[in-house]
């Protein structure tokens, strides 16, 4: 694992992606810091960090897109996957290397609260909570980005899909007001979700009958539930979509509320991303 970690870290600086990511992050967060805190005298880092989330559109794809797609394109995955190293260690090595590069500008950002100490009341705890939220959200995104990269052979496609994912998860909270909360919409939404899940089952297992059983079961449950207890369904669309809602979890967290569920939200995304990457690599072996 350390071998992969070190090699990955080194190649991220020889091929510029690491340097670009760090530069972009420092530039954007530095400007935000200058604008909100130094110029307009905001006493906490809350606004700075929240608005800096913009950099994820660039930094996440730049750091994660190459991780596995490039290996596959250059056929170097043949070295990794035939070496006496388990998939978990390969994936973790790569993931930790990406996270390390991402952590460098975050560490630099950790000096901002210290600078602010010189002009006023201390909000250190809040500021560092903000930065922690920022860091964990980045880790969650990087993990998903790595998974997306492991699904394709083209870093460009990986980058585009990753940007779409960041966009969806950032914008979701602003479209919640537009989603109807009625039980009928929820039922239709959940049924559509069942179709998606069964499709996913079919793609993962190649088992037609199994996916049909899954579809029939979930679909029947949705419709039966709607007929019997429609009240259970109202507002469910939103609660399901909350799974993808990074920005609300982030702003709660960055608002100074160090709530375990928010922390767990990002950590579980990171863990699921790593596990799915392992699955994706393993599945390619069998396909």
């Amino acid at each position: 694992m350390t071998a992969i970690y070190k090699k990955e870290l080194r190649s991220m600086f020889t091929n510029m992606s690491g340097a670009i990511a760090i530069a972009v992050m420092l530039l954007v967060t530095g400007l935000m810091f200058r604008f909100y805190n130094l110029h307009n005298g905001v006493l906490t880092l809350h606004y700075t960090v929240s608005n800096s989330a913009l950099v994820f559109y660039i930094v996440i794809p730049v750091l994660s897109m190459r991780s596995f797609a490039e290996e596959r394109r250059q056929k170097t995955d043949q070295l990794l996957l035939t070496a006496p190293v388990g998939l978990l260690r390969i994936v973790l090595g790569k993931y930790l290397a990406i996270v390390t590069v991402f952590a460098i500008p975050v560490l630099v950002m950790c000096t901002y609260p210290l600078i602010m100490l010189s002009f006023g009341p201390e909000t250190l705890l809040w500021d560092y909570t903000c930065l922690l939220a920022f860091f964990f959200m980045g880790c969650a995104y990087l993990s998903v980005g790595m998974f997306i990269s492991s699904c394709t052979e083209s870093p460009v496609i990986a980058a585009i899909l990753t940007i779409l994912f960041v966009f969806a998860t950032q914008m979701l909270s602003s479209i919640f007001t537009m989603i109807s909360g009625t039980a009928l919409t929820a039922m239709l939404f959940l049924t559509a979700l069942s179709v998606l899940i069964s499709l996913l089952v079919y793609m993962m297992t190649g088992h037609y009958a199994l996916s049909m059983i899954v579809l029939a079961g979930l679909g029947a449950a949705c419709i039966a539930g709607y007929v019997l207890r429609p009240d259970l369904f109202s507002g469910r669309t939103e609660s399901v979509l909350r799974i993808l809602d990074f920005s609300t979890h982030f702003s709660d967290f960055a608002g100074g509320v160090f709530a375990i569920p928010n922390l767990m939200f990002f950590l579980s995304y990171a863990a699921v991303g790593v596990l799915l990457t392992i699955q994706s690599l393993d599945k390619r072996r069998w396909s």
């Binding site: 350390t2 071998a3 992969i4 090699k7 080194r10 190649s11 020889t14 091929n15 250059q74 056929k75 170097t76 995955d77 043949q78 070295l79 990794l80 996957l81 035939t82 070496a83 006496p84 190293v85 388990g86 072996r285 069998w286």
Partner: protein
């Protein structure tokens, strides 16, 4: 020792490899031959655990490549068709990385990398980025990577591709020198490479093994033997009847062209009919324009086994009508195939414990 049992690999409905089984003993260099797309790389990828078979199993030194993956892979060195080198690393960095991946301890790592670089003449380029190296050098870097840690089993997918003649000679020598304490399987579609260094040859065509034997056995047991090729002037009937007074010959082995009638006579071992045939033909008023003996080499056997319709068949020469020539090879290949398959079966039977 490599044991392969009933390997099948399906890509969708397409069977890239169909139920193949073979064993390769320790200390053997085995050539894995086949035309492009025959399933060579697929099979080798399965042997290394890079791809998993749809059915069947692979044992490296008795360990299953998927179930006991780490142990089995530790004793395997793999050089894929495209060397798996990172362009943004230098040769030295790449080899140290590969050595770490193979779990070579820090103390021995430097020594091992240095030794492999010397072995493959890479020392002079050790600090250059792989990006800037030629295909031949990359191939050697990949080869050095496969040799790191001295694995007992080496799986080389087209190790000579992209090398210049001198490098081919060196690589061949290197592979030969590995023979004593390694099991080597190397794929190729160039026969001269294989027949010179391999103890055994597996010929694969359309996902099936069509022959498995030593190069020498294949040459003699294939029944192709020596072919006497005679061109005589005169009508087809007269030439044919004159030849038939001496030996059996099938109609489809006789072709007529502008340059004369061409007859191909298969000779049994040690048989020499040249004198009797020339006398018979001369007596029948069909003077001989050309007579030559062709020895069926591995090249011909390979083409017969892998290329049933074989328009580019090397047996076809001297402007012979392509139609009849195709028939000839078609018929020939049927015989050869069964012969070689029998040989293959016998081979496997003997080796099975």
């Amino acid at each position: 020792m490599i044991q392969v049992r009933h390997l099948t690999k399906l890509y969708g409905d397409f069977a890239a490899v169909k139920d193949i089984s073979f064993e390769i003993e320790d200390g053997t260099i085995c050539g894995f031959l086949g035309p492009n797309g025959a399933g060579k790389s697929t099979t080798l990828n399965i042997l290394t655990g890079y791809t998993a078979p749809t059915e069947g199993e692979v044992l490296i030194d008795g360990r299953d490549i998927l179930k006991e993956a780490e142990e089995a892979r530790r004793s395997t060195g793999f050089l894929p068709e495209i060397p798996p080198v990172y362009p943004d690393l230098t040769v030295y960095e790449y080899l140290s990385f590969a050595a770490q991946l193979k779990g070579i301890k820090k103390r021995e790592r430097e020594e091992e990398v240095r030794f492999r670089m010397e072995q493959l003449n890479l020392t002079e380029v050790k600090d250059r980025l792989i990006r800037n190296l030629s295909k031949g050098f990359r191939q050697r870097v990949g080869f050095a990577g496969a040799l790191l840690g001295d694995p007992g089993v080496l799986i080389l997918d087209e190790p000579m591709a992209g090398l210049d003649p001198k490098q081919i000679l060196e690589t061949r020598e290197l592979i030969r020198s590995l023979k004593n304490d390694h099991t080597v399987i190397l794929s190729s579609h160039i026969l001269s490479e294989v027949s010179e260094i391999c103890d055994r040859v597996l010929i694969i065509s359309e996902g099936e093994i069509v022959a498995a034997d030593t190069p020498e056995h294949l040459e003699s047991a294939s029944g192709a033997g020596t072919v006497l090729c005679i061109t005589a002037s005169g009508s087809l009937d007269r030439v044919l009847s004159a030849v038939r007074t001496v030996t059996e010959v099938r109609e489809d082995n006789v072709t007529e062209s502008e340059s004369g009638v061409q007859v191909r006579v298969r000779l049994r071992d040690g048989e020499d009919l040249r004198l009797r045939l020339s006398e018979a033909l001369f007596a029948a008023g069909c003077p001989i324009l050309e007579m030559k003996q062709e020895k069926a080499d591995l090249e011909n056997i390979f083409l017969m086994l892998t290329d049933e319709t074989g328009s580019g068949n090397s047996l076809q020469e001297d402007g012979a009508g392509s139609g009849s020539s195709q028939e000839e090879t078609g018929g020939g290949s049927g015989q050869e195939e069964t012969g070689a398959q029998k040989a293959a079966a016998a081979d496997r039977g003997e080796e099975r414990p």
